[in-house]
């Protein structure tokens, strides 16, 4: 799970799957560069979810490799060159699928956590 930076690394597969989902969702709002993605997630979660920056770039490039993201060089508001990522149509479909999967998963986890042991 994404966690505050010093926490020990949790299960990597889960982490990566979740991170991918977060990245896809974030980019569904429009093209952003890597740091933009980090900032956006931190803003939205009120700093509760801090992205491990080291894992961010491999994840972005892997998503690009799978054809879910498209990257293009552009300029920031301050005129600096930065690499912008954008969701492709395939990425949009993938996001929908991941969201469904995640909802089912979290619903299942919630059920486990909220059901009392009496049954």
């Amino acid at each position: 799970m994404p966690a505050p930076a010093p926490a020990p690394a949790p299960d990597l597969d889960l982490l990566r799957g979740t991170l991918d989902l977060l990245l896809l969702k974030t980019l569904s709002w429009g093209p952003m560069h890597g740091l933009g993605v980090v900032r956006w997630i931190e803003d939205v979660t009120h700093q509760r979810l801090q992205i491990e920056e080291g894992a961010l770039y491999p994840a972005l490039h892997r998503l690009e490799e799978r054809g879910w993201l498209e990257a293009e060089w552009g300029y920031t508001d301050k005129g600096r060159r930065a690499k912008y990522y954008q969701l492709t149509p395939a990425g949009r479909r993938q996001l929908a699928a991941e969201v469904t999967k995640w909802s089912r998963y979290s619903e299942a986890v919630r059920l486990v956590l909220t059901t009392d042991g009496a049954r």
Binding site: G30, H33, G34, E52, Y57, E65, E72, Y75, R80, Y84
Partner: protein
């Protein structure tokens, strides 16, 4: 936001290089860190601390950078592969569409290539089999045959005597394995009809020579002979199947050969192809008599030691020659110029087919050249007529490379189709070649398209693509596209220098066709001359076969004489048989025996070459059966038998050479025992219609029944095949255990001697016809193309007062000039290559003026015909329409 995307590159246009990827990743991560630091500085951290903090948050920068680079590189690679596949598929689709639009062009191009490649594949398969890899033996090129030669006797490449082979084996240092083999045949008796079996007698380490593993059992070794174990036999794989049904239990069985029992100890592997006619292999027993005056019967061969060169072998053989010459017991008369020599087994095996196959190889290469040139022409013409289309595409932004790639893909498709067709045609042609099997050369028997040949065909196809694909493409690439567009919009008339390549290629085709035509013409004339040659005997309605008496049973000379006397009498009595005779060595049969002779009272003059004559023994009505005319004196009669004065009949060739002004009848010759000449008969060809006459002396078999086997000759009033059964019965009446073999008509024997030449002539004629057709297509194509391109110009000329006749003259003149230039070049090329042909020609020289005139004339006339059609079209140009077409 949109301003940011200006001038951006699409992701798959990422630079491909490793360095570019590294730079991009570096820039991306640097941007991240710098932006973060600025953000931290803005929030109040001192710069140094901000930097530390940013790095800590980021983590292991080099590792992450490296990982991202790896991902990107992988992605770039995959995408570029996928992209080129997509581009290729697109090109292929486009090419198919383009080819479908001109089905005529496509069909002709594919057919042309298919024919060229097919001929190539078939002939190369044959050459590969016969010249390059006649036997499947590892290290075949290290096997060498030791031969003896006596130029004084015109005997070259002869075998060794058993004594020589034994003695040489002791001095065979250049060889790691040395062996000898001698072809023979045995009467196989036992179950079923008696049969004559081809066999080989071997000495030394014969089987080791070929690195063989027995299919069953074992091979015999020297020890077997030393232990007196000489009655052992190894069977060929084929004979194992026909005789024993492929039963492995054959080992230990006994086999009756010439009335002697041999024990079968092993079977050869099916892959063994040396000495294919031999069904059984047995150790050679060298008797003291054979050692002393043995015939030249041993093919002595060995495997060179590693590191020994053929030159070193020759040097060694020269030394042995010198040693043997110094030995007074062995020294050959100096006028024989006797010596030993070594020759690779490959070239010995290829034999007389070698020069013919070389010619065919050259011919086939020329045909392929023409085919490729023709397709190149078609492409040039097509490319030129597509200039406009290509120019439009270029104007719309297609680069030169995509256009070139497009054309290359088109050519590759044509080449693939042509190559596929070629392999198919090649297989068919091989089957035909197999059916002809001109000389029963072992190597031609199991011709097949093998993988190496297929690889060759593929190579040829690829080469063709390069040859005819790139040349026209380069031209298009060079073309000034704007010029083409402008010109095309005006209605074109190709400039004179523009189609130089086209004209050159047509000229080349004409030249190569002429070379092939002349080659074929010379071979046809040679064959006609040979067929017109009188062999000295009548070939029609003569049946021949061989009977050999096993030594054990017919030991006495009187027995042999009596047997053949009775046999010829019985054969002559068969209804449908007019005459019957027998002879020791039949013309166009297998063996011949030649030895020196003296003429009593006519000593050899100093400087005169040794007198040498073929020696033949005849029985019954041989001369009349064969239709050999008696020129003087008498033939042999019943009284010329054992005990009566020895007589001989000489042939016209000997009479001409040694009895110029006197009557040979009554003179005495000595070729062993002396004999009085009683008659002179006509000279005959002994094995080749092209050979010069060889002096021959005939003796009555009854006075010298040395041979245990004779060729029987029957003159029949029916077709020869119809009397075979009765002849067989006649032999069986005398001895049911005797097989008849080599049953053939005389006509068949003579035809077979011409087989290789006939094959060469047929194939070369086919090639020449194909080449002529292709070249004419080329002339026609180029002229009609240039005529259609010049419609505008022709229209102007006509409008200015030229008459249609001028048009015809112009186009025709154009075509003839092309053909003329081609003919001159072809003639020069042919004269340069004529040496290759001269070895297989007979009765004509390679520079035969009549053939050359006929070939050049035929080509010129054909070219005129091919040029006439476009010329007529030019004459029919309607000036009004031609000018309006603008």
């Amino acid at each position: 936001m949109s301003a940011r995307w200006e001038g951006l590159r699409r992701v798959f246009r990422l630079p491909l290089g490793r360095r570019a990827v590294k730079d991009e990743v570096g820039a991306e991560l640097r941007f991240h860190l710098e932006e973060r630091i600025e953000e931290l500085v803005a929030s109040g951290l001192p710069r140094a601390e901000a930097e530390r903090e940013a790095r800590t948050r980021f983590g292991d920068l080099p590792r992450i950078g490296a990982e991202v680079e790896r991902i990107d590189l992988r992605m770039v690679r995959r995408r570029s592969v996928a992209e080129s596949f997509e581009a290729l598929a697109r090109d292929a689709r486009y090419a198919l569409r383009a080819l479908r639009k001109s089905p005529g062009f496509t069909a002709i191009a594919i057919l042309t290539l298919g024919l060229g490649i097919g001929a190539n594949t078939a002939i190369f398969s044959a050459v590969n089999r016969v010249l390059l890899r006649p036997l499947d033996v590892p290290g075949l090129d290290r096997l060498f045959v030791v031969q003896q030669n006596a130029p004084g006797l015109k005997l070259m490449g002869g075998q060794l005597t058993p004594g020589q082979a034994e003695e040489f084996a002791a001095r065979a240092e250049p060889f790691e394995v040395f062996a000898g083999v001698s072809g023979t045949s045995f009467n196989l008796t036992g179950a079923g009809e008696p049969e004559r079996l081809g066999a080989a007698q071997t000495m030394g380490r014969f089987f080791e020579l070929f690195s063989l593993t027995p299919a069953v059992g074992r091979f015999y070794h020297d020890e077997d002979s030393r232990n007196g174990n000489t009655r052992v036999a190894v069977l060929s794989n084929g004979f194992w199947h026909s005789w024993a049904g492929g039963d492995p239990a054959v080992v230990g069985r006994s086999i009756e050969l010439n009335g002697q029992s041999y024990r079968v100890i092993g079977v050869l592997p099916a892959s063994f192809r040396y000495r294919r006619s031999a069904q059984v292999f047995v150790p050679l027993e060298i008797t003291p008599r054979m050692r002393q005056q043995g015939p030249w019967m041993i093919t002595a061969l060995g495997r060179l030691k590693p590191g020994i060169t053929p030159e070193q072998l020759t040097a060694r053989l020269d030394r042995v020659t010198a040693e043997w010459q110094a030995d007074p017991q062995k020294a050959a008369p100096p006028e024989l110029k006797w010596f030993l020599s070594g020759k690779s087994l490959i070239s010995v095996q290829a034999g007389e087919l070698q020069p013919i196959l070389r010619v065919l190889m050259a011919a086939v290469a020329l045909v392929l050249l023409i085919a490729c040139a023709n397709v190149a022409n078609l492409q040039l013409v097509r490319a030129a007529s597509r200039e406009r289309e290509l120019a439009v595409r270029a104007a719309m932004g297609a680069g030169k490379w995509p256009i070139m790639r497009q054309l290359i893909v088109e050519n590759a498709l044509i080449a693939a189709a042509g190559g596929g067709l070629g392999v198919g045609l090649g297989a068919v042609a091989l089957r035909a070649l197999h059916g002809m099997d001109p000389t029963q050369l072992p190597a031609l028997n199991d011709l097949r398209l093998d993988p190496r040949v297929l690889a060759f065909a593929v190579g040829v196809t690829l080469l063709s693509v390069v040859l005819f694909g790139v040349a026209p493409t380069l031209r298009v690439a060079r073309t000034n596209l704007h010029g083409v567009l402008r010109e095309a919009s005006r209605g074109p008339s190709g400039g004179p220098g523009k189609h130089r390549l086209l004209r050159l290629s047509v000229m080349g085709q004409v030249a190569v066709s002429l070379m092939l035509l002349l080659g074929a013409g010379l071979l046809i004339r040679s064959l006609a001359r040979l067929l017109a040659t009188d062999p000295g005997f009548k070939t029609s309605r003569v049946l021949t076969f061989r009977v050999t008496l096993p030594a054990g049973i017919f030991a006495q000379e009187a027995q042999k004489t009596a047997f053949f006397e009775q046999l010829t009498a019985r054969l002559a009595a068969i209804p449908g048989v007019e005459l019957a005779g027998a002879i020791s060595d039949l013309p166009f049969g297998e063996g011949r025996n030649s030895s020196p002779f003296r003429i009593e009272g006519k000593p050899v003059a100093p400087g005169e070459p040794e007198r040498h004559a073929d020696m033949r023994f005849v029985q019954g009505d041989y001369f009349r059966t064969m239709g050999i005319p008696l020129l003087r004196g008498r033939s042999f009669g019943r009284d010329d038998r054992r005990g009566s004065p020895r007589v001989a009949v000489i042939d016209a060739s000997l009479a001409r050479q040694y009895f110029v002004s006197e009557d040979p009848v009554g003179q005495t010759v000595n070729q062993g025992p002396s004999a009085t000449i009683v008659g002179v008969v006509g000279a005959v060809k002994h094995g080749d219609l092209g050979e010069p006459d060889k002096p021959t002396i005939y003796y009555p078999y009854g006075q010298a029944p040395w041979y245990s086997g004779l060729y029987l000759t029957l003159r029949t009033s029916l077709a020869p095949e119809l009397v075979v059964a009765r002849a067989r019965a006649a032999v069986a009446e005398l001895d049911p255990m005797l097989p008849l073999y080599e049953i053939r008509s005389m006509q068949d024997r003579v035809d077979q001697s011409l087989g290789a030449r006939r094959l060469a002539m047929l194939v070369l004629t086919g090639f020449a016809a194909l080449a002529l057709l292709l070249a004419l297509l080329g002339v026609y194509g180029v002229l009609s193309y240039s005529t259609s391109r010049r419609t505008h110009e022709l229209g102007i000329r006509l409008a200015l007062g030229a008459v249609p006749k001028d048009m015809i003259r112009m186009v025709l003149g154009n075509g003839l000039a092309l053909a003329g230039a081609g003919i001159v070049v072809g003639l020069a090329g042919f004269l340069a290559a004529a040496r290759l042909l001269s070895t297989i020609l007979y009765g004509v020289t390679a520079h035969d003026p009549a053939t050359i005139a006929a070939g050049a004339g035929l080509l010129a006339i054909s070219a005129a015909v091919a040029a006439y059609l476009p010329a007529r079209r030019a004459a029919r140009v309607d000036p009004v329409r031609a000018l309006r077409e603008e």
